[in-house]
Amino acid sequence: MKNKFIYISLFVISLMTTNNASAQSNTTWGLIWSEMHNFEYEINASINIGGSSPMPIPGEIRKINSYKPGLNLSIGAVITKFFGTNSPWGMAISPRLEVKGMDTEAEVKNYGMSIIQDGAIVSGYWTGLVNTKYRQSLFTFPVLGVYKLSPRCRISFGPYFSVAMANDFSGSVYEGYLRETDPTGDKITFEGEDKATYDFSDNLRMIHWGVEAGFSWRAFKHLNVDAHLDWGLSNIFHSSFKTVNFDLYPIYLSVGFGYAF
């Protein structure tokens, strides 16, 4: 299993770091300083599951035939500062590099779309099957308020900001028919192998934001189990992009492990 291999590699790397003799004295001093000032550090890895979804799902989408989350890895660090030695409240930032993606096939009816390619525009209403592949590589920066429920459990909540580094939003329509321009237009049927592809990758926004709610449980002295839900509040597309009739928001649940120093 590829994921487990990655986790194990991360642990080995982090263990090796702390066992490095020459770094030990600096590290020890660093840890003591941190403890005095109520800082905590963690590096973590997790998997994102979710998708970009319209809220609420419009009636034009009749059925979701298949959904594959894709390998959405996230690797990052968490720096938490508590407001006082015994205070349960704190703040955290948790910068990370992550991938958000999904592959879906849906059945749609009267799904308005237009495709612009090389200066030519074809628009109409599609009834039939649509598959979508969405993938973004992001640098995400949440700023969270943290509350310690118990010595081992904490919850967090706050906004996050993401910058996209690689974008893909593409797919194809097939097994259905297109009404040109509007439902009274010429009808053209796609059967079997016929399909039209679309690629809206260039229309994805670079900057995203939303809210994040998280939960962390210290399983062992240095091992955390983390989960957080990222709820996107910005449309993944630019506002000037009118082709897809509704806004799509990325909603992802992230589950993973962290090594706490």
């Binding site: 599951i49 959904y67 040109e180 016929d194």
Partner: protein
């Protein structure tokens, strides 16, 4: 991974629950089928996106007919299906969609088996597409009514998104500088990204008597060009004037080549002009479901040597299919296929159909040709003999 699978299932379930909204009402407002009693008709009704045409037998009165219509489920039609109306002139019906947001007006025409015989390409109307306008040629009867509309591949070209500079950016359009008045202009065009993706990198300019069934054009392009309209005269010859300029680079359709068009050195594009008279009667023993295949000829069989339906063909000779910068006349006789002759009773009942076809690239139906090949045609005439009149010469 099991936990991940469980979480994935939850997400799908959430989406699925969310997705189970009520089925939206139908937005389409089509006439799916139209009918009149079969004994009145010469030919099956023709239903297109905004028009319906009935061709009735010569002895049928058209002042009080009650056509019936099958619509998109949930749609309504005004006036209602089965209303008696006077079809001396075409009548309009409006179909309203189930969701109330859309409506479409159909022109329903009832006519006899007759076609205008002289074509000067003076008349065009706007093609029925909601986006890019293209020319639709039509012919008038001597008594003033519309005789028929010429078909072309323009509605297919409209889907490439390249027709945005007006009707003259389409493969088939009207030109002002005809031999007399206006002329038909056919230009072979590249179809851009969209057309090439669907293995149709070239669109030859074409004009013909028949129908273009856009709906199936993607998967069966030669089946989409349906040739023929009922005809009850004896064709003798076809004449007219033309000019031709072949495009610069002849290309053959090659799926594996870049742009799917492979240039062939030394080969020059050629045009085609031809007319075919054929029998619509299906062979004895053909089941009802198969009979519809004989209503029209199509791109695969319109000139086939072994097509038993074909009675006679007039085709421009190959030596004339060359670059012709100045107006040149053609006069081509109808040649009968071996063993074929006209059955006068069938002719009288309107069981024969005729088609005339013009194309700027002879292999355009196989997406081979030269971009820019231009055929200009004017003053075409079908020389015919009416049934029952004295023959003027042996044939």
């Amino acid at each position: 991974m099991n936990i991940l699978k469980k979480i994935s299932f939850c997400m799908v379930a959430i989406f699925a629950m969310y997705g189970c909204q009520k089925e939206p009402l139908n937005a389409e407002c089509d006439i799916v089928e139209a009918s009149l009693p079969t004994e009145l008709l010469s030919k099956a009704p023709i239903v297109e996106n905004r028009s319906v045409t009935f061709i009735i037998k010569d002895d049928v009165e058209l002042t009080a007919l009650a056509p019936e219509f099958t619509l998109t489920p949930g749609a309504t039609i005004e006036p209602p299906s089965g209303t008696v109306r006077d079809f001396s002139t075409p009548q309009e019906y409006t179909v309203y969609s189930e969701d109330g947001k859309w409506h479409k007006t159909y022109t329903v025409t009832v006519k006899y088996v007759e076609l205008a015989l002289e074509y000067s390409f003076e008349n065009v109307k706007v093609g029925n597409t909601n986006s890019f306008k293209y020319d639709v040629f039509y012919e008038m009867n001597p008594d003033g009514g519309e005789s028929f509309t010429w078909a072309s591949g323009n509605s297919g070209f409209a889907l490439t998104g390249l027709g945005k500079d007006g009707p003259s950016s389409f493969p088939t359009f009207q030109r002002n500088d005809g031999k007399d008045g206006k002329a038909l202009c056919l230009v072979t065009r590249k179809t851009g990204t969209f057309g090439t993706r669907f293995d149709k990198p070239l669109a030859a300019g074409n004009l013909y008597i028949g129908l273009f069934e856009l709906g199936i054009a993607l998967r069966d392009p030669r089946g989409a060009t349906k040739f023929g309209m009922p005809f009850n005269m004896i064709p003798l010859s076809m004449k007219g004037s033309f000019k031709y300029k072949p495009g610069e680079q002849y290309c053959i359709f090659d799926k594996s080549y870049e742009g799917k068009l492979r240039p062939i050195e030394g080969m020059v594009d050629r045009f085609n002009i031809y007319a075919v008279l054929f029998d619509r009667t299906p062979p004895a023993g053909t089941p009802e479901s198969e009979a519809v295949k004989f209503e029209y000829l199509n791109g695969d069989n319109v000139l086939s040597e072994d097509n038993e339906q074909i009675i006679c063909v007039a085709e421009i000779p190959n030596e004339m299919r060359v670059a012709t910068p100045n107006w040149k006349e053609f006069d081509i006789p109808f040649i009968y296929r071996p063993g074929k002759s006209i059955d006068t009773e069938k002719l009288q009942q309107g069981m024969y159909s005729i088609t005339i076809v013009f194309s700027s690239s002879i292999d355009g139906d196989y997406f081979s040709g030269a971009e820019g090949s231009t055929l200009i045609v004017d003053n075409v005439e079908l020389v015919c003999r009416k049934l029952g009149s004295t023959p003027q010469s042996d044939f």
